[in-house]
């Protein structure tokens, strides 16, 4: 299978799989409304918020995992799916914020602004979300060309602080039992640590080469 056929098969596949959580939540709302189930618990406002927040973090983690995975498997072609995964992180983050404003706050915008200003975990979450916006906007080929490879790469390094802020947002929200943010934290730190380790290695190799040719 050549790369183009691979992409033709896997792109729609990755897209469909990434939509599964959304599909499930939409089905759960339908089923709870019309079939009398309680898939979203007694408190769907809370449950929906948490689920969407969870999926946002999961997609951020997945987008960070693409590069190390490509290196380990020595299959550079999977980096082609990273943009879609990143856009799904933005998709779920947008739904997360929208469900908070719409269902939690019942579109009470003054309270929303007050929350952003006064409630640290919401402040942190909103900073992370705001930082995601330029990354989503500059995800097109045209924007990459306009920014130039180097500028684009530098801008998209924003995903590192975004991941850490998202994690902090999750951690700050919890009342007890921090096991889940710890798990996310361990994974995120490992993924960022890998990049640091790789950069140090390549820098060292480059320095060695530079020293050898000098």
């Amino acid at each position: 299978m050549n790369t183009r056929t691979q992409r033709r098969i896997f792109k729609p596949l990755v897209f469909a799989v990434s939509l599964l959580p959304f599909g499930y939540l939409a089905y759960a709302i339908y089923s709870d409304t019309l079939l009398g189930t309680q898939l979203l618990s007694t408190d769907p406002v809370q449950k929906l918020d948490r689920e969407l927040g969870d999926w946002t973090l999961i997609f951020i983690v997945l987008s960070l995992a693409v590069r190390p995975l490509a290196d380990i498997l020595k299959r550079n072609e999977i980096v082609a799916y990273r943009r879609m995964i990143g856009l799904f992180a933005f998709f779920y983050a947008t739904l997360h914020v929208a469900s908070y404003v719409m269902f939690h706050l019942k579109l009470d915008i003054p309270t929303f602004l007050k929350d952003i200003a006064e409630r640290p975990f919401i402040t942190v979450g909103m900073i992370a979300f705001t930082c995601l916006i330029p990354l989503a906007i500059t995800s097109t080929k045209g924007m990459i060309r306009r920014l130039g490879g180097k500028g684009w790469r530098r801008l998209h390094m924003l995903i590192y602080p975004i991941a850490l802020l998202g994690l902090l947002h999750f951690y700050m929200m919890i009342r007890a039992d921090f096991s889940r943010p710890y798990i996310y934290g361990a994974i995120i730190i490992a993924l960022l640590g890998y990049r640091y380790w790789k950069k140090r290695n390549t820098d060292a190799r480059r320095n060695m080469r530079a020293a050898a040719t000098a």
Partner: protein, 323 residues
């Protein structure tokens, strides 16, 4: 709001709930029924976990105008970290709890101390229905029709001394029955406390049932506290110890985060939780889906709407300081 509580001695026959199905499992139900002279036909259920109707519950005026949350809604969504920190964990995991037989240790500043079977503790009490609002500190609320007895009537049986200024309660510790205790999500045992006058207040009850049925395990079987004007976490579940003490107890959530949770924890829309507003609440009816997603939030009332009954307990106190 005029509220009158009928005593066990003067039940109106017309207000005694009569149910066709008389299913009694636990001895204390039978004792309570026997003491009020109602014929009782004990039957055995095939399924030990099947819902059990409690017979001979006296209706009261409490909350007659409130529409209760469904039994499924109440019993499938709550905080009971002894069975996991997710709100659907207790319903999934509480089947390991063995609420029968059950005894409670009475300790501290009281004339009668020792271990007592639950049937001894609430024998002679008329079971009452109390439909109370339950406001969680997380800004959601339910309306719960409890079946229980006034805590005061139970505490008096143990002759608390004049040194008994507070009552401290403890939940069972047994990781075999309570799998959530295998992790240290909280500092077990779960501890709660009330000032003596709060404990003796007629609104405060020990509950043994919900919606006319024996308490489901996940709701704090077999016996739990209900203090409707305080945030839900004050209403400690599956009680194994009642301790009459001189000093203010340190309750579990206060020990966990003293800046967020105090000893009193009265419902107070004027004092926000450091991380969220307490001005409004989501009233959970048990109905899910779009109607729940779009249901308007409800204004949170001082003392959860029970100010007429309990505000006098705190006259002169700065409730922002003693939160």
């Amino acid at each position: 709001m005029l509220i009158r509580i009928r005593k066990a001695s003067d039940p109106l026959p017309s207000e005694i709930a009569t149910k066709d199905a008389i299913l009694n499992r636990r001895a204390f139900m039978q004792a309570a029924a026997a003491s009020s002279g109602v014929a009782l036909l004990p039957m055995f259920a095939n399924d030990a976990r099947a819902a059990m109707k409690i017979d001979n519950v006296m209706k009261t005026k409490w909350g007659a105008d409130e529409k209760p949350t469904t039994l499924k809604g109440i019993s499938s969504y709550n905080n009971f970290y002894e069975f996991g920190t997710g709100k659907e964990d207790p319903a999934a995991n509480a089947h390991t709890l063995k609420p029968d037989p059950w005894s409670i240790e009475i300790a501290g500043q009281a004339g009668r101390i020792g271990k007592f079977g639950i049937e001894d503790i609430i024998r002679d009490n008329q079971l009452e229905e109390r439909i109370y609002r339950m406001r969680c500190v997380e800004a959601w609320s339910m309306v719960i029709p409890w079946v229980g007895v006034p805590l005061a009537s139970v505490l008096k049986k143990f002759d608390p001394t004049s040194q008994a200024k507070y009552v401290e309660f403890e939940t069972l510790v047994d990781p075999k029955q309570m799998p959530g205790q295998r992790s240290r999500a909280l500092d077990w045992p779960y501890v709660e406390g009330l000032r003596m006058d709060e404990a003796m207040h007629p609104l405060t009850i020990l509950a043994v049932g919900i919606h006319g049925e024996i308490l489901p395990n996940q709701c704090g079987a077999p016996i739990r506290l209900v203090v409707p004007w305080k945030y839900g976490f004050k209403s400690i579940k599956s009680i194994v110890k009642i301790n009459f003490v001189e000093k203010e107890p340190v309750n579990t959530w206060q020990a966990q985060a003293a800046n967020e949770y105090g000893f009193y924890s009265n419902v107070n829309p004027e004092r926000d939780h450091p991380r969220w507003s307490q001005k409004r609440e989501r009233r959970l009816t048990g109905e899910g889906g779009l109607s729940a997603l779009f249901a308007p939030t409800v204004e949170t009332k001082m003392f959860n709407g029970y100010a007429d009954e309990v505000a006098s307990l705190y006259s002169g106190m700065d409730l922002k300081k003693y939160f």
